[in-house]
Assembly symmetry: C2
Homo-oligomer: 152 residues x 2
Amino acid sequence: MTDHKDKMLVLENFLPYRLSYLTNIISHQLARLYTTQFDITPHEWKILAILNRYPNISAAHAGEKTAMDKVAVSRAVKGLSEKNLLHKIFSPEDKRRSMLNLTGEGTKLFHKIAPLVTDYENALLAILTKQEQGQLSQILDKLTRHVTAVKP
Amino acid sequence: MTDHKDKMLVLENFLPYRLSYLTNIISHQLARLYTTQFDITPHEWKILAILNRYPNISAAHAGEKTAMDKVAVSRAVKGLSEKNLLHKIFSPEDKRRSMLNLTGEGTKLFHKIAPLVTDYENALLAILTKQEQGQLSQILDKLTRHVTAVKP
DNA sequence: TATTTATAGTTACAAATGAAACTTATTTCA
DNA sequence: TGAAATAAGTTTCATTTGTAACTATAAATA
């Protein structure tokens, strides 16, 4: 007759906890793939990847695409630039807006790292059936849409 | 005839990225539920929750249960202790091992915060069908087991 | 038993992160 | 126009976090 409707909070079953537990491990393992071999931070890697995909975008735009805040982007850009992996100019039309592009070296580094991380992703996906892969994708979309919907 | 088998890495479709994007948002929203109203950090909240569930465990044990490293646990314990939310003694048998318990105040605070975070979880789950909830749970288990399996 | 190895927890220092203030450039609109 | 508001990006400072070194105790072993 104790704990009648106490709906005890059990960390191990708590969805946000389970998600963050898994995600933290994945992020660490993924980072280790390139931080050990190459002198590049996770933030820098994100910018490298997004600029390979979308050349010539601004820092703000890169931030949107990667969900990084502008300070993090600024620092990553600076780091990449100092390593000659990225070239930054400001737009002649709007001298506030940056135009970011990978250098040849930056592109080369991207193509060294990309297979490592896609291999890692494939190993993850291989754990799941095709069906589960689809389910996960759909569920992530649903949840992401929900949590990003602006709250009053 | 270009990019024949280039399996381009597209951040937006990349599972680890999608996971971390979602998880970061959830973690932030969740933290906001208690950090604004109560003077408690996310680490402290985890320890509070695990001690409510498993009273009298050691710091090391609490760390295992929460996937926090021992430094983070030590700091959270210190913080909670300074706020009189937690009581720490060392075991008489093994004077290295701590025995942690919530104080009455700590327990009271837990019961104030718990419904806020479970409500948040329920709102998340409500987005999914019962079926999807089961699928997600199973998928998280599979992936977590995989990534935590020791690698040579 | 004396020495070493291992364990629990803390402390200290360095690196990463986040929030706010700041600079420069552009837009708005009174 | 020109003052005020907005926007992009950077810098600064405080906080958080992570790694390594350290202390104290207990266990292993020679």
